[in-house]
């Protein structure tokens, strides 16, 4: 382990949130590197200071005010008995729609690219010319009846 790796994981090491193998690697690096050992001490010192912060007390009578506010709410709600049924119904409808959609997609014939075929009626005249403005060929289809 190098110093960069150590410093990236120093918080997890101080919190004992690493695996056993990683903890050992960190411990080993700490023994060899004075800078990283100091970094770990600073991390632990900060953690200790935060853990020893005094537990603040709420103002006098807060507990009673809290109770009064709760009592003013009346009875707590009860769980809607329809809720589990509603969830099951939504799941069933969604599942049915999915199955139906899959079945329909299997039944449908493969799409045919329209551009591959041009249908002409027996009474239509097809004339091919060159675009006078330098474009590609132009096919004109017109009714055979004058």
């Amino acid at each position: 382990m190098n110093c960069r790796g150590f410093r990236n994981k120093v918080a997890q090491y101080a919190d004992q949130e690493l695996s056993g193998r990683e903890m050992l690697a960190m411990q080993h690096h700490c023994r060899c590197c004075e800078g990283c050992a100091a970094e770990l001490r600073r991390e632990q010192e900060l953690k200790n200071m935060l853990a020893s912060m005094k537990v603040p007390e709420p103002s006098f009578g807060f507990e009673d005010r809290l109770c009064a506010a709760i009592n003013a709410e009346g009875q707590p709600r009860r769980e809607s008995a329809w809720r589990p049924w509603r969830t099951a119904a939504v799941a069933a409808v969604a599942g049915a729609a999915l199955v139906l959609g899959l079945l329909r997609s299997f039944d449908r014939p493969a799409p045919v690219a329209k551009s591959d075929f041009i249908d002409f009626g027996a009474d239509q005249v097809v004339q091919g010319t060159q675009d006078p403005f330098g474009g590609g060929p132009v096919i004109t289809v017109s009714s055979g009846n004058p």
Binding site: L46, L50, V55, P56, E57, P58
Partner: protein
């Protein structure tokens, strides 16, 4: 379950949970808000919401963790709403020539009124200087002593995100102490 089988939660049970946990919940609220009155408002709102949805509480899990989760959600919602209001007032104020700009003076905030010199005060000011997600992760880990997994559950995020927030949050706090109290916390220098 049918409608007739629905259970109504017991208000007396809720009250006993509340009396046993409110000090701890208030402690977290104060660390997050930095002001006693804001913390009490936050705690009250959290308990009222918990009471309304008490039927969702699983008695097999610690009540305090459930309360922390509710309180955390409300706190994050408040912060988001505050930042939206501020952005909108900065965008729109003054266009009619009469609106008064209402931008907080950071240098005169309540944090400067707290007595300096005490370690707790310095740490509390440092916590308040952090962004709310980092502050919450650091408070839950170091003040409340929770494991990363529990914090991830409360903050409804991944363990990786919690890890990163704690790491960066502590760095921010150390920088703050080093900048505002140079030499006072020699072991905390970055």
């Amino acid at each position: 379950m049918t409608p007739t089988q629905a259970q109504r939660p017991d208000p007396a049970a809720f009250e006993s949970y509340m009396r046993a946990s409110h000090r701890q919940v208030y402690g977290l609220a104060l660390r997050l808000t930095g002001q006693s009155s804001d913390a009490e408002d936050l705690v009250q709102e959290a308990y009222i919401r918990a009471y309304r949805f008490f039927f969702r509480y699983d008695p097999g899990l610690p009540f305090t963790s459930w309360m922390y989760r509710i309180l955390t959600n409300i706190h994050i919602d408040h912060n988001r709403r505050k930042s939206r209001i501020r952005a909108s007032s900065l965008d729109n104020a003054g266009l009619d020539g009469e609106t008064v700009w209402e931008v907080a003076d950071e240098s005169a905030g309540p944090d400067k009124l707290v007595l300096e010199g005490e370690l707790d005060d310095a740490l509390q000011l440092g916590l308040l200087s952090m962004c709310s997600e980092f502050r919450l992760a650091v408070v839950l880990a170091d003040v409340e002593g929770m494991a990363y997994e529990e914090i991830a559950e409360i903050m409804q995020t991944s363990i990786g995100t919690v890890r990163s927030r704690i790491h960066r949050g502590r760095k921010q706090l150390r920088r703050y102490l080093d900048r505002e109290y140079p030499g006072r916390f020699c072991e905390v220098n970055v």
